[in-house]
Structures are given as C-alpha cells and as structure tokens.
C-alpha cells in the first residue's frame, strides 16, 4: 500500500511535466488541427541553449530556463512560419511531414553545434528528500510539479478570462463563426503555436533541471511522451491533456515498480492502444474547456 502511494506521488510529480508536453500538442491541434512533429526538437533546441548558457556563460537555473524558453519560442516561430503558416488549409499531411523534416533539421543543427553525449543543466534543487511516515518526497520534483501546476492554472486563466483565450476557444470550436466575428484564425493559431512551444520549453526545462542534464535523445522522448499523454486523455481535449499526463506518470511509475523498468513503456503503449480502440479515437478538440 505504501509502495502504491509512493509510486502514485512520484507519478503525479513527473505527470505534471507530461501534462505540459501534452498541452503543447493539444493547444496547436485545437486551433490549427495540425500535428507538430517538430515539437520535441523545438524543446530540445531550447534545452541545448539553456545548457550552453550554463556551460559557456555560467548562467544559473533561472537564466538557463529563460534561455530555454526564448530559444524554444524562436525555434517555434521558425517552424510555424515554414511548416504551418505557409501551407494551405487542406494540406495537413504535408504540414505534418514538413514539420518532421524540420525536426530532423533542428536536431542535426543541435548535434553539429553541440556534439557531446550529455550536457549539464542547472539543477532545480539539491536539497535532500523529505521523509515522512515511510514516504519520501524529493523537493526538486515537488518544485517541478508545483511550477507545472502553476503554468496550467495560468493557461486555464488565459483561456477563460482573456480576450485572446476567448478568441482561441472560438477558433477551436467553430473556426468559420470565429472569422465572422472578426477573429483571425491564422493569427490566433500562430500565437497559440508559440505559447505551446513556450509550455514545451518550460516542461523540458523542469525535467532537465530535475535530471540536471540533457541529451540529444530528449527531443524524441518529449515528443513521444506528449503525444501519448495527449491521446490517453482524448485527442485534442484540454482537461484530457492534463488528466492524460498525470495518468501516464502514475501508470509508468507503478508499472516500473511492480513489473520492472522494461515493462514501464510496454504498459503505457498497451494502454494507449486499448484506449484508442475503446474510445474509437474520437477527436474532441477543446470540448468542455
């Protein structure tokens, strides 16, 4: 029982970061109906920039996170202009494949500039774990979960309470009606795309700071986790992305504990396949948001 609780706590912590990655996909998918395959690579570029700032300029945690966010948004702007803005409405497969090509491009640039296997990222916290009634809690993981939660709350507030959020939800639920109200879906889509890249950068920075390192494989990892978490919660649903992220974290940590590390991802993918099968994979962009 204690194990289950401990695993669930650990799972929720990492699940917060997964949820941010999933939201990155959901926000773009909701407004643009497009899958951004370069999402992981965008996050990777940000993290490499953060690590470079840390290594070359001696920047600390906040500086590195700022560099990560800035470069992730800049890379996002490049991807948005090249792969999404320029392609007509009907060419969603082309936009996806084009973003894949840019994924490869960004990763190659990252590997050329920084060809080492691992780079150090400033640690979130080096405080010792807190022990309580047989449970342990890592302060850095708690901080990660708290920041992720804060970011999600801010996102929720933005969507519900601001003019931009209102417009974004209008575009997501009825794009034609939104245009008739004077909202420009392309502009909202671009802004949402960049916001998603920022959230992805934040999630990446949190995870890299907990691991205090980053490798070239992070981009692919982030993309897969985000995609799986988004789909678990229902493709395109905002609360679904949050629930999917948390669920993925909890499932993974319990599967790892009870079945072994090699089964962790097997359980996650098996469940994903089953969820798609039972829910018939309905796409529910931004419902109940």
């Amino acid at each position: 029982m204690l194990d289950l609780i401990q695993n669930t706590i650990d799972g929720v912590m990492i699940g917060g970061a997964y949820a941010l990655l999933a939201l990155g996909f959901t926000l773009t998918f909701g407004v643009m109906r497009r899958l951004n395959l370069a999402f992981g690579a965008i996050v990777l570029c940000g993290l490499y920039a953060g690590a470079a700032a840390h290594q070359a300029l001696g920047w600390g945690l906040l500086g590195s996170i700022a560099a990560t966010l800035a470069v992730a948004v800049a890379a996002g702007l490049y991807v948005e202009r090249l792969c999404f803005r320029a392609l007509a409405e009907s060419a969603s497969i082309a936009a996806m494949v084009s973003s894949f090509a840019i994924w490869m491009q960004l990763e190659e640039i990252a590997a050329l500039l920084m060809p080492r296997r691992t780079y150090a990222y400033p640690a979130l916290s080096e405080a010792r774990p807190w022990e309580w009634a047989g449970l342990s809690l890592r302060p850095d993981q708690l901080a990660m979960a708290a920041v992720a939660l804060g970011a999600m709350a801010a996102l929720g507030w933005t969507l519900r309470r601001t003019r931009f959020g209102l417009a974004a939800r209008a575009v997501a639920t009825a794009p034609l009606a939104a245009r008739l109200a004077g909202i420009e879906p392309a502009r909202i889509g671009s802004a949402m795309f960049l916001l998603a890249c920022g959230l992805g950068g934040l999630a990446g920075a949190l995870i890299a700071a907990v691991d205090s390192q980053v490798t070239i494989k992070f981009g692919m990892w982030a993309m897969l986790k985000g995609l799986v978490a988004m789909t678990l919660g229902g493709i395109g649903s905002i609360p679904g992305a949050v629930i999917g992220g948390l669920a993925l974290g909890v499932i993974e940590s319990n599967a790892q504990w009870y079945l072994g590390a090699e089964w962790r991802d097997i359980v996650a993918y098996g469940l994903l396949f089953a969820v798609l099968y039972w829910r018939r994979g309905r796409e529910r962009p931004w419902t109940n948001s």
């Binding site: 320029a86 392609l87 494949v97 190659e108």
Partner: protein
C-alpha cells in the same frame, strides 16, 4: 563498383520497400507511423529462418513476408475504424510495443557451436547467409533491386486494375467511396496487409545485408522517414517513394562534402518543396498530365 556506392544503393533499395509500404497506406488516405514494426518482424522472421534453421534465403524472405502480412492484417482489423490522427497514433503505439517486446525477447539456438538468435536488447547477430554463401555485395545489390523492380511492376499493374482505382477513390474520400458501394474498410485492410508484407520483405533483405539487427533500429524515426519519403516523392505514382529515398539517402549521402549537413539541407528543402507541392513531386495531377494520351 565502389563499395561505398554499392552500400548506398543497397540502402536505397531497402528503404524504398519500407517507403512503398507507408505510401500504400497514404494512397488509401491513412497515415502510419508504424511500418517499421513490420520491417522488424520481417527481419527477425527471415533471420531466424536462415540463421537458426538453415533455410535458403528465398524461403527465409518468404517466411518474413508471411509474418509481416499476417501482422499487418491483425493490426488493421482493430485500427481501421480509427481515422486521421488516432489511426496514426495507434500504429505508433503498436510499433513501439513491438520494439519494446523485441527488447525482451530471447530465442536462441546453438548453430555450429555458436549461440544464435534474438537476444533481447543485444539484438540478433550472425545472420550471415549472404556471407556463408559467398554472395558478393554487388550480387546482393542485384537481388535487392531485382525485387524492387518486381514489386514496382506489380504495383503498376495494380494501379490500372479495378482494385487500384477503388483504392484511389477510397483515398480521395472514404465516405463518398463507401456511398458508391466500395467496401472501403475491407480495401484498407487489404492494403494494410500488403503493406505489412512489403515492409517485412525490406526487413528480411536488410537483416541479411547488415548481418545483425537490434530493436532500437526500429524506432519511430525509421517509420516517419519512410512516411516522409512517400509524401516527398509524390502520391501520384509508386515511383514517388523511390524518388523520395533517392533524393535523401542517395543524392545527399553521395555528396560526401555535405553529408554532415545532410538533414539541415534536406529538412529545409523538404519544407520548401511541400509548400510548393503539398502532395509531393510526382503528385496525382502531374502523373495524370504525364500519362495522358498514352493507352
């Protein structure tokens, strides 16, 4: 011929089979991120047949194709009711499951005093039929391209058949095709089966060239490349995916000066190309214009 060139040409042929597999599904309107799983199944099945049981290569390849096609069929049945992104992610989930299970799978036999066979993350080494039978690199290149040409010829024949036309109709608009009495779901399952077999054929050929495979060969990276080649080359003809592979692996790899920057050049070029031609270089409209007037 230069060995490096033979190697590159062999890779183009192998990748073409995988790209054709992804392209077939694109033709019926489905995006698959998971064709690498069938490539893996073909590689493991064919390798087991020749290396562990001493089957001749053709029989081993055939075994691989059967396994791949059966798997393609088995996966198609539950996934065909999904559409769009959900289908793509389901194929991804399947392929990753496959890869992770291969990481656990140990199946070894003693052959000539050596333990051979799939060995979890260590992979499957010692598939040396080609070397044991002293088939030259050039000879094996001939085998690969002989098969690619046969496959292409078969696809061209299909393209002009009733099934080919029906597949195009389903790809253009599945609901409309169904309303016209075409069995869209069954056609898609048929295509997924053929695509599974085709990818497995590529995998079987690959393992005998490389002499070894390991599960991480078959990550999503491989599958999405295959998918991208299909779209870049063009959806209009089976030559499209081959053109896509040649452009990437062939042209840029062969120019060694820029090989290090290959993905930077290629990635950017693809993005620009797709803005100009969202259905690829050899898209349906171009193919129609080129073939117009011919019998």
């Amino acid at each position: 011929m230069d060995e490096f060139l033979i190697g590159v040409l062999s890779n183009i042929g192998l990748m073409s089979l995988l790209a054709l597999s992804a392209w077939l599904l694109l033709v019926v309107g489905e995006i698959s991120f998971g064709q690498q799983a069938f490539f893996a199944l073909g590689a493991y099945a064919a390798g087991i047949a020749t290396a562990l049981y001493g089957w001749p290569l053709p029989l081993g390849l055939f075994a691989g194709v059967v396994v791949g096609a059966l798997a393609g069929f088995a996966v198609a049945i539950p996934t065909m009711r999904l559409t769009g992104l959900a289908f793509a992610i389901a194929t991804l989930a399947f392929a990753e499951l496959m890869r992770l299970l291969l990481q656990l799978w140990v199946f070894q036999r003693e052959v000539d005093g050596e333990r051979l066979g799939p060995n979890a993350v260590e992979g499957f080494r010692g598939v040396r039929w080609v070397y044991d039978h002293d088939l030259s690199a050039l000879g094996y290149l001939g085998v690969i391209w002989g098969i690619v040409v046969v496959v292409l010829a078969a696809l061209f024949l299909c393209e002009r058949s009733r099934i080919g036309l029906a597949c195009r109709a389903v790809g253009a608009d599945a609901e409309l095709a169904e309303a016209q009495g075409l069995p869209a779901a069954r056609l898609k399952i048929l295509v997924a089966t053929v695509a599974g077999g085709l990818a497995a054929l590529g995998g079987g050929l690959y393992v005998h060239l490389a002499t070894y495979v390991e599960p991480q060969h078959f990550s999503i990276m491989l599958g999405v490349h295959a998918l991208a080649y299909g779209l870049i080359g063009g959806l209009g003809t089976a030559l499209g995916p081959i053109l896509g592979v040649v452009l990437d692996i062939g042209l840029l790899e062969a120019l060694q000066e820029i090989a290090r920057y290959r993905m930077i050049v290629f990635g950017g070029a693809v993005a620009v190309l797709l803005i100009l031609r969202p259905r690829g270089l050899l898209d349906e409209a171009l193919v129609r214009r080129l073939t117009r007037g011919k019998p």
